[in-house]
């Protein structure tokens, strides 16, 4: 049997959408008994949401005022203690998980598999390397605890189930005082979340200015889509960093991805290759984005965007 601990990401009392995907990955491990750990200040609602995911056997709730906002240095010793007896400790491959899980692995002296995209057995996993230009099949020595981050775009969200029992867990690991949260500046938006949206409209450097980038936002709103951006557009200051799609930004898998004025650097393509349908609009007919697009349209984006809007 595999005892799998999934660390829940959450904020403002809501479970992050990545957790349901981690649970699917965890449940794919042969013989898995899946426990979700919720470390929160006041985590009853988050724990209840986690307990109602199909495949979850139980939820461990650790409540401590210091657990929010989440700081890896504070959470890691608690997760390491909860992980005692676990064969696998998983978290999402989001900035939360990428910050926390290797710290947990360090405390456990365990190897980590980053960006797990497929489970082949309890000890064998597949993960992308070289910005997705190669897929590695990795075997972990048997009998060793494994820490992993889950590439959320590779797994479907677990459906409703349960409810699984929720247990209050006490941890006595000493928590450090050397790290302090100061502030967060998240752009408030009524648009769907980029990471989980069914439709995404992204703009690239060809937009030419932050003002012109509003064309992308308008089309996205028309489609009920999230807004994304290429690295070039973010570097040029047309869009904030959290909208960057690609290997070093967000890796997404929407039903519809519309790339406008994006040439299609390999780093960008890595972030979208699990999209169901890719549409590319670019004035350069030779742009690499057309090699992966299901529908390509060559032309001037400043003329085409309003035209598309009028047709919707």
């Amino acid at each position: 049997m595999s005892r799998v601990l999934v660390v829940a990401e959450h904020a403002h009392g809501a479970l992050n959408a990545s957790v349901a995907k981690c649970v699917t990955c965890a449940a794919a491990i042969p013989g898995a008994e899946v426990t979700v750990a919720v470390l929160a200040a006041d985590g009853a609602a988050v724990a209840a949401a986690a307990a109602s995911l199909a495949g979850v056997a139980r939820v461990l709730l650790v409540q401590n005022p210091g657990n929010e906002p989440a700081l890896a240095a504070v959470l890691a010793p608690q997760v390491a203690q909860l992980a005692d007896g676990s064969s696998h400790v998983l978290g999402p491959s989001t900035t939360f998980g990428k910050d926390l899980m290797p710290r947990v692995a360090g405390l456990l002296g365990a190897p980590q598999l980053s960006d797990i995209m497929a489970v082949e057995s309890a000890t064998r996993f597949r993960r992308p390397v070289y910005a997705g230009n190669a897929i590695a099949t990795v075997e972990v020595a048997a009998g060793r605890a494994i820490v992993g981050t889950v590439r959320t775009a590779s797994f479907q969200a677990a459906g409703p189930g349960g409810p699984a029992p929720i247990e209050n867990a006490a941890v006595d690991a000493p928590l450090p005082a050397h790290t302090r949260f100061v502030s967060a500046s998240a752009a408030k938006s009524d648009r769907p979340d980029l990471q989980t949206a069914a439709r995404v409209v992204s703009g690239g450097r060809a937009l030419g200015s932050p003002d012109n980038f509003a064309l992308i936002q308008r089309l996205a709103d028309r489609l009920g889509a999230a807004v994304g951006a290429s690295r070039a557009a973010v570097d040029a200051g047309y869009a904030p960093n959290e909208l960057q799609v690609g290997q070093t930004g967000k890796i997404i898998a929407p039903e519809l991805y519309v790339a406008i004025g994006i040439s299609g650097a390999i780093q960008h393509l890595t972030g979208i290759k699990d999209a169901r349908t890719i549409v590319a609009i670019n004035k350069d007919a030779e742009a690499p984005i057309f090699e992966v697009a299901d529908y390509g349209l060559v032309g001037d984006l400043f003329a085409l965007i309003p035209e598309i809007e009028s047709l919707l």
Binding site: A76, R103, G106, A131, T137, A141, V279, G296, I308, L311
Partner: protein, 249 residues
């Protein structure tokens, strides 16, 4: 603040289109351009800027890897690092072993700040920084886009999924760099000449007393599944009609 330790990894250059070897044993590296991992270059640049502002006396560049990694360390010295150490190791050392080796050097060199790239662009692990911070029992500030040192504290703005987050950590600490922290400087020819005279020490994992026995084994590498090229449409109307037919709009 006295010393800043920076990690430098030798990787296949950012601009090389990586191909998997036909036998699946790895990727093609023969005759391929090798460079400093781009995130490590950003780490070094940040360390140099801190030193130039008077926040440090010495920047120490450290690499783990084959003898050839001396080339990347020479480049780091040419950029402005004062001193370099190569820990000779196999081509591929797991992040936990890398973190253990860094910890040994930290015990010897007592840096006030360690700056590493957030990930290496070859194995894309994104693990070494937090693992090192855990082993060292010190703070970590990952994915930094702004680093401000204030006495014995450092305030770091981090690029997180929801936007930007600012945390404050006590020194010594580990910081890992994101893309927008800075733009690394170009190396000038006279600096390359000067770098030849800077100290570059070579040691190895055994001398540091680090057990680097692998815990993970890569069974095979494969190229990713390719997407098929789709159809080119001529007009916006044709595009919208096609998407509508598939129920996508």
């Amino acid at each position: 603040m006295q010393r800043i330790l920076v990690g430098i990894k030798r990787v296949v250059d950012y601009n090389v289109r990586v191909r998997v070897r036909p036998d699946g044993s790895g990727v093609v590296t023969d005759g391929v351009k090798m460079s400093i991992n781009p995130f490590d270059e950003i780490a070094l640049e940040e360390a140099l800027r801190i030193k130039e502002r008077g926040g440090a006396d010495e920047v120490l560049a450290v690499s783990l890897g084959p003898d050839d990694a001396q080339q990347q360390l020479r480049t780091a010295l040419a950029m402005g690092a004062d001193r370099a150490i190569l820990v000779r190791a196999a081509e591929s050392v797991e992040p936990l072993a890398v973190a253990r080796a860094f910890l040994k050097l930290i015990e010897r060199e007592t840096p006030a700040l360690v700056i590493l790239g957030k990930q290496a662009i070859d194995d894309d692990c994104s693990q070494t920084g937090p693992m090192l911070a855990a082993l060292w029992d010190r703070p970590q500030a990952t994915f930094a886009s702004r680093v401000e040192i204030d006495g014995q504290r450092v305030r770091v703005t981090r690029e997180v999924d929801a936007g930007l987050e600012t945390i404050e950590v006590e020194l010594p600490a580990v910081v890992t760099t994101d893309l927008r922290l800075n733009e690394p400087r170009y190396v000038k020819l006279p600096d390359i000449m000067k770098a030849k005279k800077k100290p570059l020490d070579v040691t190895d994992l055994a001398a540091l007393g680090v057990d680097a026995a692998p815990m993970l084994q890569v069974l095979r590498f494969e190229p990713p599944p390719q997407r098929q090229k789709g159809v080119m449409v001529k007009t916006a109307a044709e595009l919208v009609a096609a998407l509508r037919q598939k129920g996508l709009v």
